[in-house]
């Protein structure tokens, strides 16, 4: 099929009105081709989770989403709640940050999987549903999946629960899988296992993935493309290696510079001074100007537009040509 699977244009998410109005997403443009993995990076509060929750239609009541989110030709923002619900668990699926709380503590793993499968594949005979659930648990590397079906989430470790969540997502065979910091709550060794699992699964998984992470190394390992979010803006995007090896935007540069590497232990750690802007702030110029090491006078008055930089990269900065 021609065209991208997901095309987001001028997506704005806001709450309230007048002076106290909060702008959470401030005009996001983004496209994702079929079968590709897009990483989304940025500090806490940059709007990463808000973006994916808006795609899923899971924003809390009271928030207003404007713009377009087109999934395979259908604008999700124009859909009725019933139609949107029908897409979730069919064409859209999501893995959450905290596997300790994402599964219902008082229902067996098997029950929760079976409910999702019955919703996805209505009319399937119970024995086949059960078999699909066991097979999915086996595929994500849960030992003795038949017996695990009868376990409650409390009986599984965090890593195991995240595998269950991944199994739940996979049985839906979604066109778009969203993983919102799926490894942030896990130990480093478990994180590596989960990333390894996702990398292996992407071969038999046909859909596209949006992967949110704080960890640039993980994004580099797993993703094809990366989008950098800051203060509700998309500031840079492009192929993952190019962007993370040779970042263009000063924010991406700073973010990459913050990665802890093998510099001598007595060298001071790099960090970005200041903090992410509040959603109620409305700067006239660049959203990053206050914290930017390269900010000049025009940066404070003119908002930069996301502009193509070469074939497949985009960045939003007025001074790109002048930066060292």
């Amino acid at each position: 099929m021609a065209g991208p699977l997901l095309e987001i244009s001028d997506l704005r998410l806001s709450a309230g009105s007048g002076k106290g109005a909060a702008a959470i997403l401030r005009g996001i443009d983004l496209a994702l081709a079929r079968g590709r993995i897009l990483g989304i990076v940025g500090e806490s509060g940059s709007g990463k989770s808000s973006l994916v929750n808006t795609i899923m239609g899971l924003t809390p009541p009271g928030l207003r989403a404007e713009g377009r989110i087109v999934l395979a030709g259908e604008d999700l923002l124009g859909l009725s709640p019933v139609r949107m619900r029908a897409l979730r668990g069919h064409r859209l699926a999501m893995i959450f940050q905290d596997p300790m709380t994402a599964l219902n503590p008082v229902f067996r793993i098997g029950t929760q999987l079976v409910d999702v499968i019955r919703n996805r594949h209505p009319g399937t005979v119970p024995a086949a549903v059960e078999a699909m659930a066991v097979e999915a648990l086996g595929r994500v590397g849960l030992p003795d999946p038949g017996r695990r079906m009868r376990d409650y989430p409390g009986q599984l470790s965090g890593g195991m629960r995240q595998r269950v969540m991944i199994a739940m997502a996979l049985v839906c065979r979604p066109e778009l899988l969203i993983a919102d910091e799926p490894t942030t709550a896990l130990d480093a060794t478990i994180e590596a296992q989960i990333i390894d699992l996702l990398r292996r699964l992407r071969h038999d998984f046909q859909g596209s993935i949006i992967f949110i992470s704080h960890n640039l190394g993980t994004v580099m390992q797993l993703c094809d493309e990366v989008a950098v979010l800051y203060g509700g803006h998309l500031v840079e995007s492009g192929p993952v290696r190019a962007v993370l090896r040779r970042p263009l935007h000063p924010y991406t540069r700073a973010l990459v510079g913050c990665e802890i590497d093998d510099r001598p232990v007595d060298a001071p750690l790099a960090f970005i001074p200041g903090k992410v802007p509040e959603t109620t702030e409305r700067p006239g110029g660049c959203i990053f100007a206050d914290r930017c090491a390269y900010a000049a006078a025009p940066c404070r008055t003119t908002a930069p537009r996301l502009a193509a930089q070469g074939d497949d990269r985009r960045a939003a900065c007025l001074r790109l040509g002048e930066l060292p």
């Binding site: 899923m56 899971l58 619900r85 029908a86 897409l87 979730r88 668990g89 069919h90 699926a93 999501m94 959450f96 905290d98 709380t101 994402a102 599964l103 219902n104 503590p105 008082v106 229902f107 409910d115 999702v116 919703n119 996805r120 409650y152 409390g154 009986q155 969540m165 739940m168 839906c172």
Partner: protein, 318 residues
């Protein structure tokens, strides 16, 4: 955290201790009740010798620790004592009344759950709507008006003005249908307060549960709202409510006593009331003991049944 068997043993030991504590309190309270049973029962004309004999027969001349010991020894063997007035065993008296009181209490609690839980879920899901506000107002009225007043109001409206339902008493015939009809008003009177309370508790608990991550997960996988509310959320939300219902059962028995008196139904209520009026302490202490044991047993069962609803208790050791 302790393992489930240790938890069970711990709860049972606590329950046994509570029974002993309750016995002590019964004996002390009875020694404090004003009015001498000999004077009340025998009248002012009884000879001092006969009164003395009567007091001795009831064991009231003994010091408290001796009375407690006799009582405990008798209770431990399952003997609740003998009614000095009628000569009947208190066991027989209580056994005859217990089914009536239990039937009333269980019917009221069942009605309260059947109406209160869906009402709570309904208002939580429609938080802030007119229906939610209406349920909140009605609930507050039900909770704050004592059940005996509700009972009298119901009696006046449905039995006297509208003449839909029989006024008082247990069924004179053995007809089950007639007995059921006579249960309606007392049950409703007893249940209304609990309907209000359960609706409020379930609403609060549901609102908290609906904000949990696992509810977001269920929605993220497109599950129907009905399934999300009544299956995924309710089972979590009902756990704290269960504790209140279990503890409330004792209060419900207390309420049943008053309702039985108003509707002139036989039961533990009428026994306690008559025994207290007559200062018939042997019947009083035996009956109160039975009520206390039921109360403690229901609490124990409630605590142990959490594990059925909440696997985290059962498997907390793993």
């Amino acid at each position: 955290m302790q393992s489930y068997p240790a938890y069970v043993i711990n709860r049972i030991l606590t329950a046994v201790l509570s029974v002993f504590g309750a016995m002590l309190v019964i004996v002390i309270l009875i020694s404090l009740v004003p009015g001498d049973p000999a004077t009340v029962l025998l009248g002012p004309l009884a000879t001092p010798e006969y009164a003395q004999h009567f007091i001795a027969e009831m064991g009231l001349d003994q010091p408290v620790h001796v009375r407690l010991w006799r009582l405990a020894a008798g209770f431990a063997q399952g003997r609740l004592g003998t009614d000095v007035i009628s000569g009947q065993s208190v066991n027989t008296i209580v056994a005859a009344a217990l089914p009536h009181t239990f039937a009333l209490a269980f019917a009221a609690m069942a009605l309260a759950c059947l109406v209160g839980i869906p009402a709570g879920v309904w208002s939580a899901v429609r938080k802030g709507s007119a229906g939610d506000t209406a349920i909140a107002m009605v609930s507050v009225v039900f909770v704050s008006v004592p059940s005996f007043i509700l009972g009298i109001v119901l009696l006046v409206v449905f039995s006297i003005w509208l003449d839909w339902l029989p006024v008082l008493g247990l069924s004179p015939s053995a007809s089950l249908r007639d007995a059921a009809i006579r249960m309606i008003l007392p049950t409703v009177a007893l249940a209304l307060g609990w309907i209000g309370l359960i609706a409020r508790l379930v609403r609060t608990s549901m609102l908290e549960t609906l904000g949990q991550n696992y509810i977001r997960t269920a929605r993220a996988y497109g599950l129907r709202e009905g399934l999300v509310h009544y299956r995924y959320a309710l089972k979590n939300a009902v756990i704290p409510t269960l504790a209140i219902i279990g503890m409330g059962f004792g209060r419900l028995l207390g309420g049943a006593v008053l309702i039985e008196i108003i509707f002139a139904r036989q039961g533990l209520g009428s026994i306690l009331y008559d025994a207290l009026q007559a200062r018939n302490f042997s019947v009083l202490q035996g009956t109160v003991f039975v009520v206390v044991v039921i109360f403690i047993a229901v609490n124990l069962l409630t605590e142990l049944s959490y594990a059925l609803f909440d696997p985290r208790i059962k498997f907390s050791r793993r």
